[in-house]
Assembly symmetry: C2
């Protein structure tokens, strides 16, 4: 049969290797969290350390490449006419379940590029929250900051438990947060 080998070297392999790194990083971040060793990502991509650092000089630029789509997805959803706060929280929770690293990217406070992302997301939440409040769907005292806190809280918890229990735990946590504990 025609050789299926990927050259992996030479000028023509650059784009392929870059794509392989992003794909591998997506899986490794999902499995091991945002702090996973970059070495393991290079290995998973079938690529040397050098190529990883050449394409992505640091962890943040790799993470941005990996979660670019996810962030865009959030922006698109926010831009759609009928979108409610519920829809948005559901989407973000889904992403947190799939990869807790996503929330690290969206709610980080260390790197300037990530802070920028967080700012954009926060604005979107603010808009949806205002609508929900005016429609009488949420309590008056709830702020956009509260929502960021709530999502961060759930994501932080999910990061500490086995992946196969995350969906159940996330659902339960949202139920608590939404309905409250007190009578």
């Amino acid at each position: 049969m025609f050789s299926a080998r990927r050259p992996n070297r030479g000028p023509s392999a650059a784009a392929e290797n870059r794509a392989a790194l992003i794909a591998a990083a997506r899986e490794v971040f999902a499995a091991d969290g945002y702090d996973a060793p970059l070495t393991s990502i290079a290995r998973a991509a079938g690529v040397g350390q050098g190529s990883l650092y050449r394409h992505f000089p640091d962890r943040v630029s790799l993470a941005l490449a990996v979660f670019e789509d996810g962030v865009r997805e959030i922006e698109v959803l926010a831009a759609e006419p009928g979108t409610t706060l519920d829809d948005m929280l559901a989407l973000m929770t889904e992403r947190a379940i799939t990869s807790t690293a996503f929330i690290d990217v969206v709610s980080a406070s260390a790197d300037a590029r990530l802070i920028h992302v967080r700012g954009r997301v926060s604005e979107l939440l603010e808009g949806l929250l205002s609508e929900a409040r005016e429609a009488g769907r949420v309590r008056e005292h709830v702020t956009a900051d509260d929502l960021v806190t709530a999502i961060g809280m759930i994501a932080a918890l999910l990061a500490k438990i086995p992946a196969d229990t995350r969906r159940e735990t996330a659902d339960r946590a949202w139920l608590l947060l939404r309905k409250g504990i007190d009578v």
Copy 2:
């Protein structure tokens, strides 16, 4: 003046060194979390690596020594007649604010000794929760597991933010959890 030096060596220093290690560990765990380097604890105690590992063969035994008092405090509070679920949650939150490592000890699921501690705490919560439910102070659907989840969630969040903002964030998070987001 009379020499204030602590011998630090020889048979008579053992107890003092052990106490110094516990005190240093308490501070380092509080400042840097449960995963702080043991090396930094030895340094803070003014004691060599060897002494640290001699007194406490691993991280868990050191953590148990450090938080022994905290756990006993919880048990004592639970045993007192008038104690409510509120009181207990307040105490545990206070401990989580002071040292997020405390919650790592109380809610850990890796080491057998720590699981034992979690089991005891969980039982205590169960008892107080039943009372509160019968008194109509909490919603029917809330379980002891939910409470553990809630505390773990808050502690996980606190561990990711600066120490001087923890109290405020913890209060806000409990308000959300108790009153709920939805109308």
